[in-house]
Symmetry: C2
Subunit: 210 residues, 2 copies
């Protein structure tokens, strides 16, 4: 797609990306409260007003950062080897999810808490954060396919009237709960993530295998 762009469009895209990159860096270093229009502007040698040529509001910037975060999460999970056995594959997918959360805590919390709330109203039509999550090339899709494969192979067993997607949601719940609880509570009690994550995953696998 970059080949079909005019020089003007390329400049625009470059500036847009520079804004998003600095915004993401500030979030990862100073947290979401340390992110201001003026701090972004100063970092890229722009006037605060100048940013509004590229984004309509601060929320739109944060939304775009989160949207790219979903892609990063997808790529992290897509790197897990699908040739692994069913159980190991699902566990490794979960570990990729958790590593992402542990590496970028503020970013992860932003993507899954404050972001979906306040930005639901003015996200680009057809590109809401939930559609983004469920759509093609999303992290959740990888999980659905992994669970579906396990069910077909007879490795995982469905509950009564349970669909594969619902099973995937349950897997998501388990790993997401681990990430959220560790980020907001357990890590301050010096409880290591790997320790509790292994237990949680083991119990979950025990619950869905026969």
């Amino acid at each position: 797609m970059a080949l079909t762009m005019t020089p003007k469009e390329r400049r625009q895209a470059k500036t847009r990306q520079a804004i998003l990159d600095t915004a993401r860096k500030i979030i990862n270093s100073k947290g979401i409260d340390g992110l201001s229009i003026r701090s972004i502007a100063k970092a890229i040698d722009y006037s605060p007003a100048g940013l509004y040529e590229y984004f309509a509001s601060k929320e739109e910037i944060v939304w775009a950062v989160c949207s790219q975060g979903q892609n990063r999460l997808y790529e992290a999970m897509a790197q897990v080897d699908p040739a692994l056995p069913d159980v190991e594959y699902v566990i490794e997918l979960g570990s990729a999810y958790l590593n992402f959360a542990a590496e970028y805590p503020d970013f992860f919390l932003l993507m899954f808490t404050t972001a979906p709330q306040s930005m639901r109203n003015q996200a680009p039509p057809g590109k809401e954060i939930d559609k983004e999550m469920m759509g093609q090339d999303s992290a959740f899709t990888i999980l659905v396919e992994a669970m579906g494969r396990g069910v077909e192979n007879g490795t995982f067993v469905l509950l009564q009237n349970q669909t594969v997607m619902e099973l995937a949601i349950n897997a998501w719940i388990q790993v997401h709960g681990t990430a959220m609880l560790w980020l907001t509570q357990l890590r301050y009690l010096n409880i290591p993530l790997e320790h509790i994550a292994r237990q949680s995953q083991t119990t979950f696998v025990r619950g869905i295998t026969r």
Copy 2:
């Protein structure tokens, strides 16, 4: 304790509680972004500066609101009948947790996401939000005792080298993940909470029973 207070202290406590009550109401109606010092002050016929006689900062107000929220969550879970069989008891505890989250979504999200982050630094010493969570008369304590009882009765089985507290953390992860994922994602996809919660709890119980 209210009996040992001087009239002056009673007045102070009354005003403090009025501040916290209005703050909680604003959070539940307008969300956390709708909460401002000036909006609280206007609601109780005070000047913005007047509130600083009772709380040192806005964050201290939010912290106190969250702290009282922990108590409300504890009371909700304490009302579950302990005479229930092990499995039903744990499930009902989880349902109480989920009902709380569904009834006060913004409040719940505040308690478990933005709050623990930003207020860790200047919470009253010995009263950090995590100590609050793990301490006596906390919601988590109820869960620990419930799991411990189930283990003693042989209803629940521990993993290798797993403690009862770790098992309780896993139960917490499961129910917390359900709450968070539904509040931030699933409810916008019109997925009913009861539906997905039942599956999640069933799978978890299946994972910890022999």
